[in-house]
């Protein structure tokens, strides 16, 4: 009981502490310590699985543990990166490089507090078994992360924050409606109903009202799908991801989207148990393909490299949704891909942050010669590109292969062909952008030059390089060798959904 509660309470208390601490170094060490402690707790919970707490409301099942591990690990990398970011950040009033107006930053204490609360709420999403509590936690992640996007206090980030808040809140409100529909489906008689816990809903799935379950699924998928960034509801995602500071983008893309995905998986779990899986899977399949197609279109014409990464996130959420829609062996592929995507995208956003701070532009055509100006980040950027587009020997290659194979095994050749085609388009589109940034000489990029025309040598600090490097190595390792512990966990989790 204490174990599970600690996973949520520890970041909350650390966040509150960060709010009141006045010394910068001390606050930064609180952030790092909390992230480390969270990883340690998660690792401990992996080995010694804690019992359910609060009458079954909080429980660490296989699915939750997998996503919690991703969140925790990625947060550690982001926290480490954030410390370097805070040190380098100019906290005074300064000029925006794109539009020439003056702006300041949010207070570091507030920002750190929100970062830790964000971690707490994401952990709560992974832990909650009750659909109501799950909803509360998902909405809380939106509210905790909105101030993070508005870190640089200028017009564009404000616009992105507003869109994020409004679109996600409305989406999540629809998910609440879905929750109520689910409760109606679970009502058996005047004073008798199935509790809203995942386990009891799955156990009593046969008793649920089929039509209301379908309605509930639709609303929940639209609601959580908004948060997930699935195609017609994705509009907030590119703005929020491109305007947030890089470690926040990494967390949004690598951890938050996964949390929304987990919420979708939970309701799918109930649908599968109730024999309504076909219906839900069809919807997820279509939404997945639509998201991939949309991402492909916008990646090809993209000039902003952070937006490119954001659209790539939409693409990968599409892949996850598609894989879940296929079912069978693809469940394993989907969960494995979620791990791979989080690590790779986290790394890419952190590297993008390094490039952004060196070149002072988000416009890809204005970035040249990253291989010379930023040797480590440049290489990581290209490696990350290869990984995210599913090239061997990185992890995403394996998971995408599993998904493709299960599509072929099921005889869904059209889906497989569309999947392959879209992946190819995205590969070409991203290659054109990324490789051009890597090649050339820094002299060709105007913004990176000092006023006298010489190239400013920017040494890459350890804080900025080590987190993406570690994430990149993890992706590489996953592509070559899948540790049995992780494999077992993913397999168990996949079986829990119904595969």
């Amino acid at each position: 009981m204490t174990m599970i509660a600690l996973l949520v309470l520890l970041p909350i208390f650390a966040g509150l502490a960060a709010l009141v601490v006045r010394s910068d170094p001390f606050r930064r060490s609180i952030l790092l310590a909390a992230a480390l402690a969270h990883v340690a707790l998660t690792g401990y919970a992996w080995v010694y699985r804690p019992a359910a707490a609060f009458s079954g409301w909080l429980l660490l099942d296989d699915l939750g543990l997998l996503f919690l591990a991703i969140v925790s690990f990625l947060f550690l990398a982001a926290a480490f990166y954030a410390v370097g970011y805070f040190k380098k950040e100019n906290w005074g009033e300064r000029q925006d490089f794109a539009e020439d107006f003056l702006f300041t930053n949010a207070r570091e204490a507030t920002f750190t507090c929100c970062l830790l609360l964000f971690l707490a709420m994401m952990s709560l999403v992974c832990l909650s078994q009750d659909f109501g509590l799950l909803w509360v936690a998902v909405e809380a992640t939106t509210l905790a992360s909105a101030p993070l996007i508005y870190f640089h206090r200028h017009r564009r980030s404000l616009e992105a924050t507003w869109k994020y808040l409004m679109i996600c809140s409305v989406g999540i409100a629809l998910a609440l409606l879905g929750n109520f529909c689910l409760a109606v489906a679970a009502t058996l008689g005047p004073d008798k109903s199935v509790p809203m816990l995942v386990s009891s809903l799955v156990a009593n799935a046969g008793l649920l009202h089929p039509l209301w379950l379908k309605v509930a699924f639709l609303f929940l998928v639209v609601g959580y799908g908004t948060k997930l960034g699935l195609a017609p509801m994705h509009t907030w995602l590119p703005d929020a991801h491109s305007e947030a500071p890089s470690m926040v983008s990494a967390l949004l893309s690598g951890a938050l989207l996964n949390c929304a995905f987990l919420a979708v998986l939970r309701i799918l779990q109930v649908c599968m148990a109730a024999g309504q899986g076909q219906f839900g899977q069809k919807i997820l399949l279509v939404l997945g393909l639509l998201s991939m197609a949309l991402a492909a279109v916008f990646i090809v014409a993209q000039t902003d490299f952070k937006r490119m990464l954001a659209y790539s996130s939409i693409e990968h959420m599409g892949i996850l949704s598609l894989a879940v829609g296929l079912g069978g062996a693809a469940y394993f592929g989907a969960l494995f891909h979620a791990v791979n995507h989080s690590l790779t995208k986290g790394m890419l956003f952190l590297v993008a942050g390094n490039i952004l701070s060196a070149y002072k532009t988000k416009s890809a055509p204005d970035v040249r010669g990253a291989s010379k100006l930023l040797p480590v980040s440049g290489v990581l950027w290209v490696a990350g590109f290869l990984a995210i587009t599913g090239s061997p020997p990185f992890g995403p290659f394996l998971s995408e292969l599993i998904i493709l194979k299960s599509a072929l095994d099921q005889g869904r050749f059209v889906v497989a062909a569309a999947f392959l085609f879209l992946l190819a388009v995205i590969f070409v589109g991203m290659a054109a952008i990324v490789l051009r940034m890597f090649q050339g000489t820094p002299e060709q990029a105007g913004n990176a030059l000092a006023p006298d025309g010489s190239v400013v040598s920017s040494s890459e600090s350890a804080f900025a390089v080590i987190p993406p490097l570690v994430l990149g190595l993890a992706v590489l390792v996953l592509g070559v060798y899948l540790p049995p512990a992780l494999k077992g966990l993913i397999a168990h989790a996949a079986r829990a959904i119904g595969g």
Partner: protein
């Protein structure tokens, strides 16, 4: 049917009408405040026959939050930003009213079609809930001021709350409190964001927030 319940439900629907027909933001805020109070009282009318302490406490919390605190917060935001108080909607008032009538008809027709596993407490609560949700969504898409979008969000949230009432769904108190807390935080954060928007842009027309696009 209970005459009093009927009157409260009719009044709730009229607050929605007021929201989409009014040209002043403050009038809309008052309409939403009325809606919050009425909605807080409604569970005591359509709920179980005997009043429990828990129902009363939740009702009181809802009335305080939706009826008084949110409107107060929004009125404060309205005062602090020196914007024009007219709505300047994207869809005209008369057309909005006609759309509202169509939405109401849809909600009423649809409310009759749904098969109910348990009989609803009052036959009008379900149409009311659906109408309120649709009006909230309509207000979000058809009004350009950031503040009115928040109002639309609140109305939508109210509609969803009424939907829960229609079936007398009893979530555990913790979850209901969590939902209220989330709504509170959402309005709070949105209020702060609106303040920043009006300071940064000297307006809060969301259709003019268009720097980010592909």
């Amino acid at each position: 049917m209970n005459l009093f319940t009927d009157a409260v439900i009719a009044a709730l629907i009229l607050t929605n009408l007021r929201l989409i027909a009014s040209s002043r933001i403050s009038a809309c805020i008052y309409a939403v405040a009325c809606q919050g109070v009425l909605l807080g009282v409604l569970p005591l009318l359509v709920g179980p026959q005997h009043l429990t302490v828990r129902a009363c406490a939740l009702s009181a919390a809802t009335v305080m939050l939706k009826g008084f605190f949110f409107p107060w917060l929004l009125l404060r935001a309205l005062r602090s930003v020196s914007v024009r108080r007219e709505m300047e909607p994207l869809v005209g008032y008369t057309l909005s009213l006609i759309i509202g009538a169509v939405l109401l008809a849809t909600a009423m027709w649809f409310g009759r079609q749904l098969p109910l596993p348990v009989p609803a407490r009052s036959p009008m609560v379900l149409p009311l809930a659906m109408f309120t949700i649709m009006v909230g969504l309509f207000a979000i898409v058809s009004r350009r001021k950031a503040l009115t979008q928040v109002l639309g969000y609140l109305v939508m949230e109210n509609g969803i709350y009424a939907f829960g009432l229609a079936f007398a769904l009893s979530e555990p108190s913790l979850v209901e409190l969590g939902i209220l807390l989330d709504a509170f935080m959402a309005v709070f954060v949105m209020g702060i964001t609106i303040f920043h928007i009006s300071r940064e842009f000297d307006h809060m027309d969301t259709d003019r927030l268009s720097a980010l696009r592909d």
